[in-house]
């Protein structure tokens, strides 16, 4: 390779590296702050992990623990206190229950819808599909208040149902799966009909297995969106801390009489973020397949 080409490649990489730094810096700060002591955070010193000097933490003592219990290294304290102060496992479990329920019901609704819109001929199909597209344009926040009022009237505020029900019909999911089903050859469906499958059996036994890449892509969109959602749980979960989802849980560390303590707060954020990152790394390859919609060969 000639020197010129190296320079050309070098430029590309330099730009990409700058971009990567911009994206990754907040994560670096998050991890770093979850390991350091309050003084180091406030004076912006100590590099990645700080000095890790054993010390006694005043907020901890104020909360009612003995001085001995509150004396330890900062990284340990941050994570220990995060779990002590807020029931983080409970929040994580709520997150899992809510996101999984939403996703499963979304699939149960979206797949038959998408199949009908892609493969069945019926009067008004184009109209229904255009309504689906239209619904994609409506922002959630626009209908949040009416939704809240309806849930309140039904007595569902402060329940899991309030967190799950409004999201069970995913217009995006219907659209994505419909586009994927369009690429499945009609002959495959005819073959299944000749073999004796009914329309529902075709959806679950033929269409679903061929649509796994698209479904995984949708799973990631759906799970990430609802795991990270702060707006909706904040609206419908008004008092019951047992129903807090992880983003609501993080809020526990903000403000209050103890003033802001960033270490435990960042530790809880790391705890909440890690499951998503792990899931993404596992599903990464499939995710990219699904986005590009390679379909069947």
């Amino acid at each position: 390779m000639e020197a010129k080409q190296y320079i050309g490649e070098g430029w590309k990489h330099a730009i990409l590296i700058v971009g990567a730094i911009v994206v990754l810096l907040p994560f670096y700060m998050m991890v770093s702050m979850s390991l350091k002591s309050q003084q180091e955070i406030q004076s912006i010193s100590g590099g990645l992990i700080g000095a890790q000097e054993t010390q006694t933490f005043p907020v901890c003592v104020k909360t009612g623990y003995s001085e001995e219990e509150c004396t330890m290294k900062p990284y340990k304290y941050n994570y220990w206190f995060a779990f002590e102060k807020a029931p983080i496992p409970r929040y994580l479990m709520n997150g899992v229950i809510v996101t999984l329920s939403i996703f499963i019901i979304q699939v149960l609704v979206a797949l038959p819808c998408a199949y009908a819109l892609a493969k069945l001929r019926f009067y008004g199909r184009e109209f229904v599909f255009s309504m689906v597209l239209f619904c994609l344009l409506i922002p959630v926040h626009g209908i949040a208040l009416p939704l809240y009022v309806m849930l309140a009237q039904a007595g569902l505020v402060d329940t899991y149902s309030a967190l799950i029900l409004p999201w069970t019909i995913s217009v995006f999911g219907i659209f994505l799966m419909r586009q994927f089903f369009m690429t499945v050859p009609d002959e495959l469906i005819d073959a299944a009909r000749m073999d004796g499958m009914g329309e529902y059996a075709i959806v679950w036994k033929v269409m679903l297995p061929t649509a796994i890449p698209a479904l995984l892509a949708f799973a990631i969109f759906s799970v990430v969106a609802h795991w990270n959602d702060y707006f909706w749980p904040r609206m419908v979960i008004t008092g019951n801390r047992d129903l807090f989802t992880p983003p609501l849980g993080i809020r526990e560390f903000r403000g209050g009489i103890d003033s802001d303590e960033f270490g435990p707060m960042m530790a809880s954020i790391v705890t909440v973020t890690v499951p998503l990152i792990v899931a993404f790394i596992i599903a990464q390859k499939r995710f990219i397949e699904g986005i590009t919609l390679t379909g069947m060969k």
């Binding site: 002959e187 495959l188 005819d190 299944a192 000749m194 499958m197 033929v206 069947m296």
Partner: protein, 379 residues
């Protein structure tokens, strides 16, 4: 038994008429080919027989039973598709099992895990396994049973698709251009295999193709369809020798039949180019189309009143035969003449040649394309 009767079948999509009042009787054990150019409605007709499409009017009878209202899966027919349509996520074995599982297991037995507690499931599973093994041995796909369709070649997928149709032992097989995704050599090979399979199964085959060669080689009878109409239904030889109309004559046979414009005089003598036919047309004083197949024309050195001359535009060498595309005066279209290599090797593009025709081979058609017969078989 496996007779299929189609009575006055018509089909239209919106205002487009696709099938026009078709009547076909398919006999038990017959290999019937529906052949025609693409878009003639042959696949639609097959789908109507299968029950995947509903006819606009008319009746479908299978074994003399009206099946208009019966669903595709309950007609006991099996279909082989052009794209094979194997389930991509299942192994070959599961692909073959699927129609049997759906037919033999009841709803409870199909449930995962708890379905296994049904007392009858074990014996049913055994009989399914036996059928799958028998079929895969017949088709020589036993070693492929654990693979997925994506790992198979085109020919192997074709066999698996056939197998999936065969395991159910249906009353009839419906095939929708099953060979057209294969390469030329494999296609010719599969033709003979399909014929052998038909001979050993003795089941009714209804076979759709746009390839007249497939129809001629395999079928016991062929139905020529053009523009939604059934033009002729007869044995391949009869369709080739005695086409009922100009379109059939032009569709069947490769290379295409040569068509000359000519006319008959008051006595019925047919004249075209500078040649008079000895046989008399039954229609006198009219303009006619005269069709002569390439193999009934011959290149000759002698020039007399029965030959006509032209210039070779293109020499098409197929090894066993050579076809000459010849420009004739007064005829805008090129005509095609078959020659044997040993007699015609010195003829090249641009050569002037004399063409002689075999007697008694010309076919007459009137201006609307209908066949006209000669008055007598003489001359």
């Amino acid at each position: 038994m496996g007779t299929i009767s189609l009575k006055n079948i018509s089909k239209s999509f919106g205002s487009t008429q696709v099938l026009n009042n078709l009547n076909v009787d398919i006999q038990d054990g017959e290999f019937l080919t529906l052949v025609g150019p693409s878009g003639c409605g042959k696949s639609t007709l097959l789908r109507i027989i299968a029950g995947l499409e509903q006819q606009t009017s008319g009746d479908v009878l299978i074994d003399n039973k009206n099946v208009n209202k019966i669903r595709a899966s309950e007609r006991d027919l099996a279909m082989v598709f052009q794209s094979y349509a194997l389930y991509p996520h299942l192994t070959v074995r599961r692909n073959l099992e699927t129609p049997l599982r759906l037919r033999d297991y009841n709803a409870f037995e199909r449930l995962p895990l708890i379905g296994n507690f049904s007392p009858n499931k074990k014996s049913k599973t055994e009989s399914i396994n036996q059928l799958v093994n028998k079929t895969s041995e017949t088709l020589q796909i036993s070693e492929l049973l654990d693979r997925k369709p994506g790992q198979l070649s085109g020919g192997q997928r074709q066999r698996v698709a056939l197998g999936r149709a065969m395991v159910r032992e249906p009353v009839a097989f419906l095939m929708d251009e099953p060979l057209s995704n294969l390469d030329a050599a494999l296609r010719v090979h599969m033709r003979s295999e399909l014929s052998e399979l038909h001979n050993s199964l003795k089941t009714t085959f209804v076979y759709v193709t746009h390839d007249q060669a497939e129809a001629l080689t395999m079928s016991s009878r062929m139905a020529v369809m053009i523009d939604g109409n059934l033009l002729q239904l007869d044995t391949p030889q009869e369709v080739y020798d005695n086409p009922s109309s100009l379109s059939v004559a032009q569709f069947v046979g490769s290379p295409k039949i040569n068509i000359f414009n000519g006319s008959s005089d008051s006595s019925g003598t047919v004249n075209f180019l500078n040649v008079n036919l000895k046989r008399k047309s039954s229609e006198s004083n009219s303009d006619l189309h005269i069709g002569i197949r390439p193999e009934h024309l011959e290149i000759t050195n002698n020039k007399d009143e029965n030959t006509f001359s032209g210039t070779v535009a293109y020499r098409e060498n197929l090894g066993s035969d050579i076809y000459f595309h010849v420009n004739i005066e007064d005829n805008s279209k090129k005509i095609i003449v078959r020659g044997l290599p040993q007699f015609t090797h010195q003829i090249t593009n641009g050569s002037s040649v004399n063409i002689k025709r075999d007697s008694n081979k010309a076919l007459l058609f009137n201006q609307t394309g209908m066949r006209i017969h000669f008055n007598n078989a003489m001359g």
